[in-house]
Amino acid sequence: MSNSKLLMTFPVSATSHTLVEYRERGGYATLEKVLRQMTPTQVSAEITASGIQGRGGAAFPMGRKWGVVHLNDGQPHYLCANADEGEPGTFKDRWILENAPHLLVESMVIAAYALQVRNAFVYIRGEFDLPYRRLAAAVDEAYQAGYLGARILGTDVSCDLVIYRGAGSYVCGEASALLTSIEGRKPYPRNRPPRLTVRGLYQRPTVVNNVETLANIVGIVANGAQAFRAVGTAKNPGTRLISISGHISRPGVYEIEVGYPWSKFIHEDCGGVSGGRQLKAVIPGGISTKVLTAAEIEPLHLDNQEVEAAGSSLGSGGMIVIAEGTCMVRLLQVMLRFYHHESCGQCTPCREGMGWLHRIIDRVVAGDGRPEDIERLYQISAWNDGTTICGMGDAAGYATSGVLNKFRDEFEYFIDNKRSRLHGNLECLASS
């Protein structure tokens, strides 16, 4: 494993998430330094100079997002941490929320200071129980210690942090739907323009950042942008939290330096495919990214640019390992069931298309597939490509066409023979 770690820098224990131990690790010293010695513009400049990209999936540079907000436009601004980690296969933010909630709180206060935000929000996934309790406790501790609320650390800076729990909808992870949900309405994603940094929460400029992205702020500001850029690649500096699951011996959350060799990560750091099987494919960053075969990932490094050149994306860092013998038709069925279930139903291509895709794949798995079904799956995916209000339609399309591109023969076999060419289970048998 790479030696450079920016977030997982301490041994996790039963009390490592508390304020006492966070302070022992140097916690909140950066906040103090920022409030006493830096101007908001200096903080923003440092973030921009670090070149950090969003860790939520779209890899949008954080500095550019912040740059749209005019500090002196006379409006209230809002900051929101996107902790609605719903992308299947992704559970990296959960690690931060459970084990380093104060890192997020401190980072958010610094970000709030840089963006002149009085009220900041954390939108946390409703199913997150322990992460919510840990974060809520951390916010309480921070308020009592004077790191949140009015006149933080005796300065003129004030910031309140509100935790908002979601109700279990996948689209709430989309930034505009998330804000609509905070406003108390049905979380339909919003049309752009306007961008959220122009008109977001309560029609005011709002910055929504992923938890992992925000958590890097303390490190960037404490050690400087140059130190951050020293890790990772030139275009994509820093580290990534990778949550790996599926047919893997040691699933979990790993912090890796951007540019770490992929197959080394899977076969050495994570102990290889469980049961000693061969690697068949990997979904690199949540199921909305296109699947890559074992041969494709062999030469690659965990760097978004390389992965994108290979036709996929590191996305949210939710890696799903697929062992040899897994039926990709069944896999696609599970994925499409998810997208059908989670489509918010606002815009036509996704609302109708997801159900259609799901019904087709259900029929194929039931042994009633038709030769034209594969073309139809492609067609519906294409109808969703870039034509929906949010990215969910595209994502489902990528997932579908990704699996079909790489494993078309399995679908053809299934349709012709009314059964899987493989044993058909998705689960990895422990004894094998």
């Binding site: 989670e342 606002q346 298309g353 159900g355 259609w356």
Partner: protein, 479 residues
């Protein structure tokens, strides 16, 4: 003004306009389901797809601001293909039961299918089943299978009528439009507008449900007499060429439905539910025969008797109707105004439970032409006792308490509906209603609106405008 190009045609657009608005202002057709000129942008139906020249993808016109030099294509091959796909998706779970759908013939989905797709469905899978005949309110039923979730109705109740009565529950292709339990749609006096703005046959009027195919009907422009707003409406009735003889012939001369006739200076594209129910006012039992003291006479006899009463009256008093048209009121003023002491009578008052006034359309004055009546006859009837010297009272229209007539005074009564007082008058003359004649009303802002006849008037019924001129002729032979 930013200059944009739509299909190469230069257009000077308003800076705040979207591409959709700029195109419409210049007569360029871009299809839409969810967009509505009076409602916020939903951007969800995606049928208004357009392409910017040199871009490889399609975008939606309704949410695209205009900018200098923007070059828009509304019917490139890519746009056409995309619209076709949207129509495939729109009809995927739509039952396509046009044969039994009230909206057929004026349905946007139907029109667009033929305009932009025309191909049969590519799907071989069963459609999503959903609720039929869901009672959204006392007035509206909802067919969820037909619903394309454009959210126009939801936005209408939020942004226009502000009742917040509707919302969408569930998600994905299981989404359902439903009324809020604590804010019933019944309480919304504008609820029926959602039936008009529904682009498909999902929201259905209970009173019009399965009453008629729309292509058998014709709209006649008219004015709603329900209040002083004077909303312009279309009164829909059976076309003359589709006259029914074997079925109930009464269907030929009845109001089938009332819809708004868009008029930006008065009511925009909306009317209230009272306007939808005009048949409850205009189709009450009609007085069809002239009477003297309750005995039926022919119209000419009644007119002669009325003339005689006018000739012999020393102190005649008239109460004119503020449901009379501008023409009728002018005719009265010209023919009889000098002869009578004239008061303007308020024919109608708000009924129990009726909304009195709001800041959208509904006015407290429940009569259509008070302004014009008062301009001619400044004195308003205050409901008090009439001058004891009065020996003739001419009452035109409803809403008069005959107890107020001084003992011994003669009564001439002009009314359109069956009413017990008709038989008590010395002379009773039945008059036409607004669906039987042409005329104008002046609303409370001074805006004059016209109404056209829908049905023929029966010969035994008088037309008030002609009647007043006729009443002014003296029966006494010149000496």
């Amino acid at each position: 003004m930013p200059r944009i190009f739509i299909n190469g045609q230069p257009i000077d657009a308003e800076p705040q306009h979207t591409v959709m608005e700029a195109a419409r202002a210049n007569g360029i057709v871009i299809p839409y389901f969810c967009w509505h000129p009076q409602l916020s942008i939903a951007g969800s139906c995606r049928i208004c797809a357009i392409q910017i020249e040199d871009r490889s993808w399609v975008e939606i016109a309704c949410n695209m601001p205009v900018s200098e030099g923007l070059r828009v294509l509304t019917d490139s091959d890519q746009v056409k293909t995309y619209r076709k796909s949207i129509m495939q998706l729109m009809t995927l779970n739509h039952p396509v039961d046009c044969g039994i759908c009230d909206k057929a013939g004026e349905c946007t989905l139907q029109d667009y299918h033929y305009l932009y797709n025309g191909a049969p469905s590519l799907s071989r899978d069963v459609k999503v089943r959903s609720t039929k005949f869901h009672p959204l309110s006392e007035r509206i039923v909802l067919d969820n299978e037909r619903c394309i979730l454009c959210s126009r109705c939801v936005r209408f109740t939020r942004e226009i009528s502000k009742s917040n009565a509707l919302g969408i529950i569930q998600r994905g292709d299981a989404s359902l439009v439903r009324a809020a339990e604590d804010r019933p749609l019944d309480a919304d006096p504008y609820s029926d507008n959602v039936i008009d703005i529904c682009p498909v046959g999902a929201l259905l009027s209970r009173s019009f449900l399965y009453q008629s195919r729309v292509w058998y009907l014709q709209p006649t422009p008219s004015i709603c007499p329900g209040c002083a707003r004077g909303c312009t409406v279309n009164i829909w009735h059976r076309k003359a060429e589709w006259k029914l003889n074997a079925l109930d012939p009464a269907k030929n001369v009845r109001i089938e439905r009332v819809t708004p006739l868009e008029n930006p200076s008065v009511n925009g594209p909306w009317i209230c539910n009272k306007g939808r129910d005009l048949k409850q006012i205009l189709e009450r039992p009609r007085a069809e025969h002239a009477m003297q003291k309750g005995g039926v006479v022919d119209l000419a006899t009644a007119i002669r008797s009325a003339r005689r009463l006018i000739d012999h009256a020393a102190h005649p008093v008239a109460l004119v109707s503020n449901w009379g048209s501008n023409e009728e009121l002018a005719a009265f003023s010209q023919a009889l105004g000098a002869r009578f002491t004239t008061f303007v009578k308020h024919d109608w008052a708000a009924q129990p439970g009726e909304p009195i006034e709001d800041d959208l359309l509904i006015r407290a004055d429940k009569n259509p032409n008070t302004l014009a009546a008062r301009a001619l006859f400044p004195t308003v009837d205050d409901g008090g006792t009439l001058d004891g010297a009065t020996d003739l009272v001419l009452v035109w229209g409803e809403g008069f308490d005959f107890e107020r007539v001084p003992r011994g005074a003669a009564i001439i009564f002009l009314n359109a509906y069956v009413q017990p007082e008709n038989g008590h008058a010395d002379v009773f003359i039945p008059v036409s209603i607004q669906t039987e004649r042409r005329g104008h009303y002046t609303n409370f802002q001074g805006t004059v609106g016209a109404f056209e006849p829908c049905f023929p008037k029966k010969p035994s019924i008088a037309d008030a405008e002609a009647l007043f001129a006729s009443l002014a002729i003296s029966e006494v032979e010149p000496a």
